[in-house]
Subunit: 275 residues, 2 copies
């Protein structure tokens, strides 16, 4: 079975994509071609979109599915003329919300990412810069400004998680790699000096050694760094440190960045800055 899904918006299309992907993921026996048509904000663009949609209809095992977040009712009306099944997000929910809130919606395109949200937006960009400036233990002197400091062995997912926390939620996340530099004479990890003052902000990431070895192997094939024994040793030491110092942690092995990030927020109680 093959169908085509269109995500159509007069803005970025990200809301339509996000919702559409969540819904389509529930139908895993069907393969979906996915096409995003953002910035459909004139009648002309809408008519062209309809042409493209109708053309697709001929080649598939069924008419296309449209997920749309078009605010403008006239443009939405044009799209609704396409030979397709329309999941009309704003059309479905805006009227009931207007009634519940006893308020007319302002029907403004792209509102959710507009510059009137400037303060919150700036927090996200500042958070991205913070994550970059405080990545990988390069600098530790700004840890007092961090919302959270991720600790874990190299390549367990710290950096992408910090960046996602920043971009999506405006959270200032630093990260510090646990390496042999922070081991005592008996080759056991001790609490790194740079982290002692910030104990309450620490959050550990751990990972299964086979996956860690695979990830490191891609980075530096056949190195000691990527050897299974080395990975196992480092992960064991990191876990022991988390346990001994009572640092909360999660296993990233089978989690996506979104899942790691939202679980960290849930466990730490940190508030999303951008919402």
């Amino acid at each position: 079975m093959r169908r085509t899904a269109f995500f159509i918006s007069d803005g970025t299309g990200i809301t339509a994509e996000t919702l559409g992907n969540s819904l389509l993921a529930q139908f895993d026996n069907i393969e979906f071609d996915q096409i995003t048509l953002p910035y459909i904000d004139t009648a002309e663009k809408a008519f062209n979109a309809v042409k493209q949609i109708n053309k697709t209809a001929h080649y598939d095992d069924g008419r296309p599915i449209i997920f749309d977040t078009i605010v403008n009712t006239e443009i939405r009306a044009i799209i609704s003329e396409a030979d397709a099944f329309m999941v009309d997000i704003f059309g479905t929910f805006l009227s009931p919300l207007e009634e519940e809130l006893n308020s007319r919606s302002s029907y403004t395109v792209g509102k959710s990412h507009g510059i009137h949200e400037e303060r919150k937006y700036k927090q996200r960009i500042d958070a991205v810069n913070f994550a970059l400036d405080n990545d990988d233990g390069i600098r530790t002197r700004h840890y007092d400004q961090a919302d959270v400091i991720l600790v874990g062995v190299s390549r367990c997912g710290k950096t992408p998680t910090c960046l996602y926390l920043a971009l999506q939620f405006g959270i200032r996340a630093a990260n510090y790699p646990l390496t042999e530099e922070d081991m005592d004479d008996g080759m056991h990890l001790k609490m790194p000096n740079a982290l002692k003052k910030h104990r309450h902000k620490l959050f550990g990431l751990t990972i299964e050694p086979p996956q860690l070895a695979a990830i490191r192997h891609e980075r530096r094939p056949d190195s000691k760094y990527a050897a299974f024994e080395q990975c196992e040793f480092e992960v064991r030491e990191a876990s022991a440190l988390f346990a001994r110092e009572r640092i909360p942690f999660i296993d990233t092995t089978s989690l996506s960045i979104e899942e790691i990030s939202t679980r960290i927020l849930a466990q730490t109680g940190l508030e999303r800055r951008m919402k």
Copy 2:
């Protein structure tokens, strides 16, 4: 007017947040307290969520609004007992989609971010690493592997855009800063040598000088780097280069990272890798 909005999910909650924010942004005369309750995946957690929602109802100018993407119908039924207005996303759209697709949905939690999507997921993480390794012109020898190379003056938005393109769309984006190092003797920007071979991948970012000066001033107060004249000079030279070399570009001044990123995709025709 003050109301509370809950975003509730048995997964990360990101879909509910994204859709909820888009809808609420249409009501700008109402202030919404926003609370995300992710990972509501047991009856017990659902009952606790209902308690929390009902408590809120007493303090606001109206009952809470719930945006939910709970897949499990039993858990959804518990949430629907709350004293709230429910925008039931899966409840509204799954049945009609099942009928249209002539297929039962698999009702699997967190599907859209599960590890079965491993290949696409890996592409995103690889893209993040690519963006970090090829940020700010540090390295230029991997430009042949880039999907796009963003060029522009320092602090015009290149790095956050590259990271967003990677995390959200799995696009491998490098970036190269235009600085005085690439000026000729007459103090005019020339095409940097490292970019000549990759002309077709270049995409320019520009920005209004007053905003650039403000951003730089925060980074290095009262520096030559942040001076208005310097910003104006650099932006003028960058724009001249874009025009002369026919490099497509956009003005980032009043755009969000999401808008910059999706416009780059639209203009270049680059395909999202993660969808």
